[in-house]
């Protein structure tokens, strides 16, 4: 064993140590990322004061990842012709549709944000889409998109709230986000519930927040899986290191014994043996 502490082995020990520590560190980093994402999601942003949408994101900005569920004040004009229904949404165990109407922020023709006004059994049950000015609070959500295909792009029923599909139904730009009309907010004079102006929810069942798909769950899962992988590699590097130490010790002992047996004959062994051995095996490397 002490023989393996000779300076010519230091490089290998250092490499093993660095690889092991690096893998442990990378695992910790992925684990932290996983925890941070989960914490960000668990944090109930619905308890935060609403802010105007334009303070949170611009119309052509990517979705701000830490603002999932942020209550936003939407002050704009309905675009009733852009109303769509999103299929496959559950309410009390029944499958129905989300009713979504874009709201231009703030005048006609300005970029619009799709607003989930509520839930219905069938699209034909939905009341007429609202028109005119509106002022309401909505929970901000990232656009959906898991690659599900819209099997009939010509009607107003969509499988998902995806910007690329929605853009076909309006004449203006769309925000890279959507909002669900909020039915509650922090205390204050926010345009929520009865104080909202023309929020378009009349005749619709409120779309419950727990029905909202939470963003990045899969990504967070990926971080967790990567953490496990890194720790596995750390353990494996350790295993290879220990095994190499064991084998090398056994080899040195055998060599030493052989050296004793033949006595004076193989005096060169200590100097040549270690150098000769790797050279022999390296030859079959290339």
């Amino acid at each position: 064993m002490p023989a393996l502490l000779a300076p010519r082995y230091w490089g290998l020990h250092l490499l093993a140590l660095v690889l092991t520590l690096a893998a442990v560190g990378l695992g910790v980093w992925q684990y932290d990322a996983w925890q941070a994402r989960r914490a960000a999601e668990a944090q109930d942003l619905t308890l935060v004061d609403p802010v105007p949408l334009t303070k949170v994101m611009g119309s052509d900005a990517p979705f701000p990842g830490d603002k999932v569920g942020q209550p936003v004040i939407l002050d704009g004009t309905w675009v009733p012709s852009g109303t769509v229904f999103v299929s496959g949404r559950e309410h009390d165990g029944r499958e129905g549709y989300w009713v979504v109407t874009p709201l231009a922020i703030s005048g006609q023709g300005d970029p619009a944000i799709p607003v989930v006004r509520g839930w219905v059994d069938r699209p034909s049950d939905a009341p007429r889409a609202p028109t005119g000015k509106a002022d309401l609070v909505g929970w901000l959500q990232p656009p959906e998109g898991t690659g599900q295909f819209d099997d009939n792009p010509n009607d107003d029923v969509l499988p998902q709230l995806r910007t690329a599909d929605l853009i076909q139904h309006v004449d203006q730009d769309l925000y890279g986000a959507y909002a669900v009309v909020a039915d509650r907010a922090t205390p204050g004079s926010w345009p929520v519930g009865a104080r909202a102006t023309n929020d378009g929810t009349a005749g619709l069942v409120h779309a419950d927040p727990e029905q909202m798909p939470d963003a990045g769950r899969f990504t967070a899962l990926r971080n967790f899986l990567y953490a496990i992988e890194w720790w596995f590699f750390a353990a494996f590097a350790l295993f290879v290191w220990v095994r190499w130490i064991r084998d090398e010790t056994a080899r040195l002992e055998t060599e030493a014994r052989a050296g004793e047996g033949e006595d004076g004959e193989t005096q060169a062994t200590p100097a040549e043996g270690p150098a000769g051995e790797p050279a022999g095996t390296a030859a079959d490397g290339q």
Partner: protein
């Protein structure tokens, strides 16, 4: 002895799977995710491919590393060649060449590790 032969075959299967997944990840998933317009459906597809293939590659690569290491011990590869074989699972395309080299090498130096029924004589 049968287990040893299996090791060689398992290595080859894993190497090719890891190689295919890495190729898809690097030449399809990542370009779609990072080179397409933000929010487009192509980008969504790229994100999905990157996530799914990335996770699958990660787990298969773990199995590959273990298999390659034990094969390297049986076949007495040099440290350099062992490290090359282990790292190849992370470098696109390289693994296909390494798998080819490993096959040649094992056939030439350790025919006893190759099962007689192997059909991959053409590789």
């Amino acid at each position: 002895m049968g287990r040893v032969k299996n090791l060689f075959n398992v290595y080859r299967v894993l190497a090719i799977l890891v190689g295919i997944l890495l190729t898809i990840l690097v030449f399809v998933g990542l370009p779609l995710k990072y080179l397409t317009a933000d929010g487009s459906s192509l980008q969504d597809t790229g994100t999905t491919i990157t996530t799914v293939v990335g996770i699958a590659h990660g787990w298969l690569y773990m199995a590959y590393v273990v298999t390659a290491f034990f094969l390297s011990r049986r076949a007495r590869w040099s440290l350099g060649f062992t490290l090359l074989a282990l790292a190849a699972g992370l470098i696109p395309i390289l693994i296909f060449w390494v798998e080819h080299r490993v096959t040649q090498k094992v056939r030439a130096e350790h025919p006893e590790l190759v099962s007689s029924g192997s059909t991959a004589g053409s590789v």
